[in-house]
């Protein structure tokens, strides 16, 4: 019974692209609405040391083909720990404007 469930509904696997999936609809869980700040990387200063990758609690960092870290905006909760651990201080915080701008627009209407 259990093995049938696992086979049919894929209960135990956490999707291929690195985001947890719901059982029936393969829908990723986004946590972008949690954050008020987001990290922005200055790629001119980055030395590819991987400290942000090691210290990120939400596994948001992955490396692109050139070897530079990229922050996955869908799962980043904006804790900004990556800023405190960066040895060359190439990461800075930027206020997340998406939600507040929407609300302001709605108010104006």
């Amino acid at each position: 019974m259990l093995s049938k469930l696992i086979k049919e509904k894929n209960v135990h696997s956490a999707g291929k692209k690195g985001i947890p999936h719901a059982v029936e609809k393969q829908k990723l869980i986004e946590r972008k609405n949690w954050r008020t700040w987001k990290p922005v990387i200055d790629y001119d200063k980055c030395i590819k040391c991987g400290m942000c990758w090691l210290h990120c609690p939400d596994s948001a960092y992955a490396f692109n083909k050139k070897g530079f870290p990229e922050c996955d905006g869908r799962v980043c909760k904006g804790c900004l720990l990556c800023i405190t651990v960066c040895p060359v201080r190439c990461i800075s915080a930027e206020q997340e404007r998406g939600l507040t701008e929407k609300k302001e627009k709605e108010k104006k209407k």
Partner: protein, 305 residues
């Protein structure tokens, strides 16, 4: 076995691999225990079975969602050690225990207080299990109550301000070494390389190993999400959380802190806001006494603050 600092860890090799725990969990922003799971999986790799005692980290995998790419079991709060022992027994019967790590990841409430008998039994039988306690110094999941890992004078919801917690914490690494653990150590998430090397060393042991890892809790310690690592680092640098290992009852110190004044660590954490000068000096005195004992080679007689 070799010194911990001689074990190699190359971050460039690990950077290429996929995350074994993914994002999108229910944990707080800047949660250090989740970071601890990540470090465990970076250190031990894919062949790991993780047993979880009830706590904050149970909320990472709520049905039908799971962020794990490894087998993950949730027992009850008091039986983390026994569940792991059962899994190991099953692996032995299938003859697959040689290259699989069985890991217990439990909170300090589940280790120091509620799950103590299961842990002590597991260690007594010398099962080949790595028991990791993420220590945030309180029962954080149920609302920051006092546990026996809470430090003296710290504020929790059951030990409110004018006095704080009247009792010092107990030293679990020592207790586990005396119970019969082959390897028992303390680590800090703020020093990830040390933690990963200790995990890799623990994986080579034949008996059971215990690692007590300090993981600051941001709502419990009343710090900002981006300050958690700094708060933990100050606990290490002021000497309040010494990093050492006990292998076959032989003590070795792994890291010499700068011995900053404890006020720096206490000021940063909101749970110490009520402290008077007298209490601060008392904490400072106990920390200095403890370090005198450690440096003189009388580790087993030292008292925790």
């Amino acid at each position: 076995m070799a010194d911990v600092n001689e074990i190699k860890f190359d971050i460039k090799k690990e950077m290429v691999k996929d995350h074994l725990i993914t994002g999108g969990t229910f944990a707080c922003a800047g949660c250090n225990p989740v970071l601890g799971i990540r470090l465990v999986l970076v250190a031990l790799g894919k062949n790991t079975i993780m047993v979880n005692s009830s706590g904050c980290m149970t909320l990472t995998a709520t049905w039908p969602f799971t962020p794990y790419r490894i087998p993950w079991v949730h027992g009850a709060i008091e039986n983390g050690g026994s569940v792991a022992a059962g899994i190991l027994m099953g692996l032995k019967a299938l003859k697959k225990d040689s290259n699989t790590h069985v890991v217990v990841y439990a909170g300090d409430g589940a280790t120091y207080d509620i799950g103590f008998q299961a842990l002590a039994g597991m260690v007594y039988r010398k099962e080949k299990i790595i028991y990791i306690c993420y220590n945030n110094c309180q029962f954080a999941n149920t609302g920051h109550q006092r546990s026996s890992a809470t430090e003296k004078y710290a504020r929790t919801s059951t030990t409110p301000p004018p006095i704080g917690n009247p009792l010092p914490r107990k030293n679990m690494a020592k207790i586990m070494a005396l119970c019969g653990a082959e390897y028992s150590a303390t680590a800090s998430i703020t020093n990830p390389f040390d933690f990963i090397k200790k995990l890799r060393k623990a994986a080579t042991m034949k008996g059971s190993s215990f690692i007590d890892v300090l993981a600051p809790c941001e709502p419990g310690w009343v710090v900002e999400p981006w300050e958690t690592l700094k708060a933990g680092n100050l606990m290490v640098e002021t000497g309040m959380w010494p990093l050492y290992e006990i292998e076959n009852k032989k003590f070795t110190l792994n890291y010499k802190p700068k011995m900053l004044p404890v006020v720096k660590a206490l000021q940063m954490q909101g749970r110490y806001k009520h402290l008077t000068e007298q209490q601060v000096t008392e904490i400072q005195r106990t920390v200095i006494n403890e370090w005198e004992m450690i440096t003189k080679g009388r580790f087993w007689e030292a008292e925790e603050y």
